[in-house]
């Protein structure tokens, strides 16, 4: 479905202006004592849940910046998880 992503520089823009960079999964695992299996699991295995997740986006047809934003893959709305929005209140 078509939706919007909010770029920190350009503001709310059509999703087709952006390149999806995947879920933010924190820093890669330390290379010390890292087995091949652990690395492959980190690189490939992930579950997309129907709840808000922090993602990387690239404004490829715009200002060219990389940034993170929260999006829910169930409804494609930019929304923060329940507990985070409660904290802000």
């Amino acid at each position: 479905m078509s939706f919007t992503i909010t770029c920190p520089i350009c503001g709310e823009r059509d999703v087709y202006e952006f390149h999806f960079g995947g879920r933010d999964r924190g820093p890669p695992p330390s290379h010390d004592n890292l087995t091949i299996e652990e690395y492959l699991r980190y690189a490939q295995f992930r579950t997309t849940r129907t709840e808000a997740q922090l993602e990387w986006w690239f404004h490829s047809n715009g200002c060219g910046s990389w940034f993170t934003t929260w999006r829910n893959p169930a409804n494609n709305r930019e929304e923060k998880p329940q507990e985070m929005s409660n904290d802000q209140q």
Binding site: M1, S2, D14, V15, Y16, H19, F20, R23, I36, E37, L40, R41, Q44, F45, R46, T47, T48, R49, T50, E55, R71, P73, A74, N75, N76
Partner: protein
């Protein structure tokens, strides 16, 4: 009065059968225990139930479907069947699948409208012609009919093609795979449901799996919106939603759910007698037996569970189609829809058994190839579940390949549109 009489006459089951009014499948009571529970009432789940009941004598089978059978990918695909994949393991499986359609029509006594019109893939660069050369060699090595064509031969097959220098991506050649074609996807769902029910399997629509029960190393049952059901063996065949189902037992999969869109034009006089597809334009098209041009291919690259189409894509599709089939200019789109494709890193499916728990089988990650392979996969998954041992043809598709760095190489397939487009 006469109408009343006629209604009374129709009551006899023989008359109903003659008039074609027999229900294809019926409702069954939801039992609290089944030997085998299959999650997902699509082509894969129904085919597995059918073959379990018919060929392995396992009739204590339930297919659990959250919505109605064929609601997901089984009813949303563009119904194309072919066996010209990149790797031998895949070609072998899809080729058997392709040869199964006519047999299945006889067996189910139901017309699946298999139309083996052939698939023409277009190359728009020299690199694409080279990729076709590889694909043709692989197919021929596996005894699958496939040949390389020059632009003139493409034009002879599909006179509506524009092989001039006018298009942005001119046509450099083609790959023709004669045995492929289209099958009516709804009929496959209905026919398999009919067959599965006839052989004793239960089909439960509107039953949503909410949790999976385990005891130590063993699967023991499922929690549903209609109570708990215990079972000895459980198979996940839920298409785009498979990863969410597997997460109920804490199993993570290398699967990404992406939205894929398709559409049909208004009905036209027959002009397109083959499935035509183009990698450069991200577009494939075939004319259905009703005369509509069914076309699709685009996947939105961000993971999501939405099945809503976009205006952006309709515009893209119209532009792409009119480039290599200029006669379609001005034709109107009638319907557009979307479904979910569960993509794996190597664009090949995952079929495995007794994974993580004893009695847990998975048949997932089919991406946008789940339709062509549905019945043949059901046949082998049924064998897998019945014998508790993977049939040789399914062994290369085990989940472990991703942890052993053994990709299947389907991303390089000439008929696939790049790495998830």
């Amino acid at each position: 009065m006469s109408l009343k009489l006629r209604n009374n006459q129709v009551k006899s089951s023989e008359t109903r059968a003659i008039c074609g009014l027999e229900r294809l499948w019926g409702t069954s009571p939801l039992k609290s225990h089944y030997d085998v529970v299959l999650i997902g009432g699509g082509i894969h789940g129904l085919a597995t139930a059918y073959y379990l009941a018919k060929e392995h004598g396992i009739k204590d089978v339930a297919v659990l479907e959250r919505r109605y059978i064929g609601y997901g990918g089984s009813g949303r695909n563009t119904a194309i069947v072919r066996a010209n994949q990149r790797t031998q393991e895949n070609v072998k499986l899809y080729d058997e699948g392709l040869k199964l359609w006519p047999k299945l029509i006889d067996e189910l006594d139901f017309n699946l409208m298999f139309f083996n019109c052939g698939n023409l893939n277009l190359a728009h660069s020299e690199a694409a012609v080279s990729a076709f050369r590889l694909a043709v060699s692989t197919a021929n090595f596996c005894n699958v009919q496939s040949e390389l064509l020059d632009p003139q031969q493409c034009k002879e097959l599909v006179p509506a093609l524009d092989i001039s220098d006018r298009p942005y991506h001119p046509i450099h050649g083609g790959m023709y795979h004669g045995p492929g074609g289209i099958v009516r996807h709804d009929a496959v769902v209905w026919g398999l449901a009919k067959g599965a029910f006839k052989h004793g399997a239960h089909i439960h629509q509107g039953v949503e799996v909410l949790g999976i029960d385990t005891d130590g190393q063993k699967i023991t049952g499922v929690q549903t919106n209609r109570g708990s059901i215990s079972c000895n063996r459980l198979a996940v065949m839920a298409g785009g939603y498979s990863a969410s189902v597997c997460e109920m037992v804490g199993m993570e999969l290398p699967v990404h759910p992406l939205t894929i869109q398709a559409m049909v034009t208004q009905p036209l006089k027959p002009f397109l007698h083959h499935v035509v597809s183009s990698g450069a334009y991200h577009c494939y098209a075939n004319q259905t037996l009703k005369g509509e041009v069914a076309t699709g291919a685009h996947m939105d690259p961000q993971v999501n569970y939405s099945t809503t189409p976009t205006a952006w894509y309709m515009k893209h599709q119209a532009e792409a189609l009119c480039e290599f089939l200029p006669c379609l200019k001005g034709v109107k789109f009638m319907r557009i829809w979307a479904g979910l494709a569960d993509m794996t890193p190597d664009m090949a499916p995952i079929m495995d058994g007794n994974v993580m728990y004893d009695g847990l089988f998975i048949d997932v990650g089919w991406g946008y190839f789940g339709f062509k392979s549905g019945p043949i996969t059901g046949k082998y998954m049924a064998e897998f579940i019945a014998d508790d041992e993977a049939p040789d043809i399914l062994k290369p598709f085990a989940l472990n390949r991703f942890l052993e760095n053994r990709y299947m190489g389907e991303t390089a397939g000439a008929t696939n549109y790049g790495h998830w487009n």
